[in-house]
Each structure stands twice: as structure tokens, then as C-alpha cells.
Symmetry: C2
Subunit: 328 residues, 2 copies
């Protein structure tokens, strides 16, 4: 019997989940929930109902795992605790600093309901977290390095768009190649913010805006840009849409750790991702985690979990025998 998946929210993530379910032989999509008027939401899959979130309670017996595809800023902090009262749920909550609070809220709901809720699944938090936890457990005496990019940072792009005179903008976060190499070579460098990443901005101005003033305001913006080497390019809206609409992203997680009687041996663990589509990779993780959530709940587990609590084999549609014979 297939694992029955529901999607809540039909944006980039919702569409990605829809595609990922098609690639999963043991899953089927049964419903897409939307806060919009369902009649206005056209989904890619034929014969799957689009239903208002106001009717979600009617579906509790028809869905094994509900995948929450809202945003971390305002949607998930309320949605995940709410829907964990009704379904096994999975989310991609990615505001690192607020994870403990989100975990506590979701755990309370899911425990009462007897459901499993897995939060913060994607690539960071998610696969990068796994890389950090495994490598820290193995090499307790060492240094962690996480680099992001090259890829668009939504938060930094938004920050530029809020500047007066800016019509549109995209900002790329780019790891500094020399820093990557120093880490890879086991030099265990101490890196400042500026030494780890550069920021490259593509900006469309409103008519009559002062380019020099905008560039200065970007480069001096505290937290977002002031601590980085930032490049600003002014381009036309056509060029922005044509050349900067991609959703590629990626990054690197390193652990550089020492062993030996005199700590004379260095070891480098490197995990990296190069993704053509950030949302489609994130949703591919969500789908694998949904499989695990269903299995864990079927075994009687309940409460809030993260990917750190999931036995890796639970993410795979293959059996333990198959995994041991072919992938171990």
C-alpha cells in the first residue's frame, strides 16, 4: 500500500513535492490544500483534488503524511504545531535560531495527538546538519566550516529591494575559493566573515534613481553587506529575468579534525552539494523524510523529531536486506 501524501501550500516547495512524489514508487499524492480559492489553483497532476485549508479536518483518515510547504517567517511557526494535531507532518523550517522554540511547540502538539512531526528538513538545516553531526561525533577534536553558494540568498535580495530607488534585485552568496582550499588542505584557518563569502548583487533601478547612492547603501548595510566584499551590478529588468531567475544553490560542510597520541594526524571530511534547483532538492529531502515519519509513527513513535533522530534506513524505500547487500 502506498504512503498517502498531502501537500499544504502550492508555491515552489509545493510544486517540488508534487514532482518528488511522482519519483517515489511507494507514495501517492492524494490532495493539495491551499489558503487561496481552490478554483484558482491549477496543479500539474491530473485528477488530484485542490481543497481549501478550511476543510483539512475531513482528510485525517485519507492522508498518512501532510507536507507543510509554507515559509519559515510567518507560516510554519503556527502551521506546524496546528497540523501536527491532525496528521504526521514534515516541514522545512529553516530559521536556525528559532529551532529550539519551534521544536518545543511542535512536540507538545504531536505528542498529545500521537503523531510524528519532523521539522527543519531540507539541506541546511537538513543534509548539512547531518554532515556536521556525524563528523563532530567521529572527530571530537576539530573545526567546523560551512560555506554556502554559489546561490541566491532570498533574504539578501529582499534587503536590497527595500532600498529606495530599487525596482528589483538578486543577490548571490559566493564562497571564497582560497578559503575552501585552505580548509581542504588541513590548514585549519580562522576565517573572518569577509574571508569566507563574497556577495554579488544584480540590481534594477527605478527610473531616475541615483545609482551611486544605491550602491553605497547596499555596501554599507549592517549585517547584510558591510562585513563582506560586495559587488554591485546595475542591469535592466529584462536581463535580470533572463539571466538571474535560476534557483541553483549549494555549499560545503567541512570537518577538519585531529587524532593520534600527539594529535599528529589530520582528517578532512567534506560534504558538498551543487544543486540546479534549490526548491526541488529541498522537496526531495522532504519526501524521503515523509517516508520515515510514516514508518516511525507506524511503529508507535510520536512527538517532534529532526533528521538527526531518524535511522538512515527509514528514509529509503529499499528494505534493510537490499541496503545491506547493495549500498552498505
Amino acid at each position: 500500500m502506498s504512503i498517502r501524501i498531502g501537500i499544504l501550500g502550492y508555491g515552489n516547495l509545493g510544486r517540488g513535492v508534487e514532482l518528488a512524489v511522482k519519483s517515489a514508487p511507494d507514495m501517492e499524492l492524494v490532495c493539495v490544500f491551499t489558503r487561496r480559492d481552490p478554483a484558482t489553483v491549477k496543479i500539474a497532476t491530473a485528477n488530484i483534488p485542490v481543497v481549501s485549508t478550511t476543510e483539512v479536518e475531513k482528510w485525517t483518515d485519507k492522508i498518512d503524511v501532510l507536507i507543510l510547504c509554507g515559509g519559515s517567517a510567518t507560516d510554519l511557526p503556527t502551521q506546524t504545531p496546528e497540523y501536527a494535531k491532525l496528521f504526521n507532518v514534515v516541514d522545512s523550517f529553516d530559521t536556525h535560531a528559532r529551532i529550539p522554540e519551534h521544536f518545543a511547540n511542535v512536540d507538545a502538539s504531536a505528542k498529545v495527538a500521537g503523531k510524528v512531526a519532523v521539522i527543519s528538513c531540507g539541506w541546511d538545516p537538513g543534509m548539512f546538519s547531518l554532515a556536521r553531526v556525524y563528523s563532530n561525533a567521529i572527530l571530537p577534536d576539530g573545526n567546523d566550516y560551512t560555506f554556502w553558494g554559489k546561490g541566491v540568498s532570498q533574504g539578501h535580495s529582499d534587503a536590497i529591494r527595500r532600498i529606495k530607488g530599487v525596482k528589483n534585485a538578486k543577490q548571490y552568496t559566493i564562497p571564497v575559493e582560497a578559503a575552501l582550499e585552505a580548509v581542504r588542505n588541513g590548514e585549519n584557518p580562522e576565517l573572518t566573515t569577509r574571508q569566507k563569502h563574497t556577495r554579488e548583487c544584480f540590481v534594477v533601478l527605478e527610473e531616475g534613481a541615483d545609482a551611486a547612492a544605491v550602491e553605497k547603501e547596499i555596501k554599507e548595510m549592517p549585517n547584510y553587506f558591510a562585513d563582506y566584499d560586495t559587488t554591485v551590478h546595475f542591469i535592466s529588468e529584462d536581463e535580470l529575468l533572463k539571466n538571474h531567475s535560476g534557483m541553483a544553490h549549494g555549499g560545503f560542510v567541512f570537518r577538519s579534525g585531529k587524532t593520534g597520541a600527539n594529535k599528529e594526524h589530520n582528517h578532512i571530511i567534506e560534504y558538498s552539494l551543487k544543486l540546479d534547483s534549490n526548491p526541488e532538492f529541498t522537496t526531495s529531502v522532504l519526501i524521503a523524510v515523509a517516508r520515515a515519519a510514516y514508518r516511525m509513527n507506524s511503529e508507535g513513535m510520536k512527538g517532534c523529531k529532526t533528521i538527526l533522530d531518524i535511522p538512515p534506513a527509514y528514509l529509503s524505500e529499499k528494505s534493510g536486506e537490499e541496503l545491506r547487500a547493495h549500498l552498505l
Copy 2:
């Protein structure tokens, strides 16, 4: 209370476990078991008893996890099922083709005894297996690539040493850089054995041996060398000991997978290790797994497990709260 660790077998792995326990704040070494005369075995840690394996049954109440440091060819196939009757155990059994059989034997013993036995922990099988299983679960439509090296292959070195006229030898397995790059670039190449790795041999001849004949025999050896581009260097025993006694190793695991309505997006997941000491890294994994084995058994689990069955958080000495706050 510390997790009480026993070591069985005091070779490279046993010494590595001894060092790794020292780096683990939540563990203590309580005993080293040897098949040799204990009086002849000097260990690095003061005040820890070295005991004959014939007395191991007296230690069942004093050890939480026994780490089996024997070899995969002849030791572990009998030792792991035997000691899983008495202790939670961890081994580094690495004969991939025989893992299902080893798993079945160990599982039978451990289940009857109510112990947890984790087999095949190290880097391959071990961390590389994790990389393969995670990335296959996330990207079901894709290709796997595993490369080993640069590092010494014990099996290939032994094969050379068995040739008439060879006094000593070391063989390095080296990944082909062009193949790594093609995979990294998302070209999804189909690679022959020859295109993935080269083999470099450093050989010390017996006096009067025929170098040309030895080189021919190496290069034409089926399975081991015939399918590879192999280089043979003849050197003195002094040079071999001076320049080729290191135990560095490493390798790369890639998954290159596609998503999207028309499979138009490619994603590359790369996991790599660059290890100054193969045995010390392997034993660092064994120690983290021993922690997990102890926790799993404390929760009532029993039977044979692999690293694919272990929730990642169980490997870390940090609490769930700490992991979520700092590493997720």
C-alpha cells in the same frame, strides 16, 4: 557514568580505539583482551589490564561495549557472533560481499543474548555507506560513483607479496582526476574500471629476482591489476620503509541525480574523506558507534544493526537539545 569500553585485539585498530576512547569525555577504557600471552602485550595507557581472551566471560558485568579489532578475513566471522552472546559489540567487518551472511550470524547470537551488535563500521563500509544511502533516498533517479584513494590497498599489496621473487610491496589505489571532474560536472559518465582508478606499486625484490618477470606478472594479474593502468617501481627495502609506511587513505562518494518535470535539473552530492591515518579514522567511527550501541541496548533494542539503523544523534555525546541548538 562513563560508558565502559573493552578492546579485543591490540593491533592497529586496537591502538586506534585506545586513542579514540581518550578523546571521548563520556567513555573509559576498562580492559584490553588479547589472544597472545598478556605479559607480552604492552599498551599505551597506564593501569589498564591486559587479559587473555580465555577470561573474557569474567568481564561481562564490567564492560558496556566490547570493540572487536580483528580482521575481516578470518577473525570477525567467528568472533562477532561469539562475543555478541556476551557483550554489546561493534566491529569493522569490511568484506562487502559477505555482509548479509555475517549479519545473519551475528543477529542470531545477539538476539538470543539481548545484546546490540553493530557490524561493518568504519569508512567503507560505514561513512561511505551512509553517503550512498542518504543520497539514494533523496535522489532516486541518478547514478552512484565511489572512488577510493589515494591510499594503500592491503589486499593488492598482499597479492604482490605472494609473487615469487618479491620481498615486500605496497600498492596505492589512485582515483583518476578526469573521472572525478566529469562526475563533479554532472556529466553522468559511464566509467570502466580502468577509467576510475590507477594502481601504483612499490616493490622490493629478493636478491637475484627477475624484475621484468615480476612486473609482467603484476600487470597481468587478473582481477587485481589486469583491468587497470598499473605502474611498477622497484625500490630498496629502506626506501619502502621510509617513504611508504604511511597509513593515509581516503576517497569520494558521489550521487548525481535528476529532478524536475522533464528531469531538467541535475544535483551533485559529494562526500569525501582525506585521512592521514586510515586505522585511527576507522576507530574514531567505531567509538562513536559504540556510544550508539550502548544507548540502543539501554533502550531495550537487541540484535544485529548497521550504521544505517542508528539515529545520527545517538552517535554524539551531545544532548538532543545541544545538537538542535548548535549543529542542526
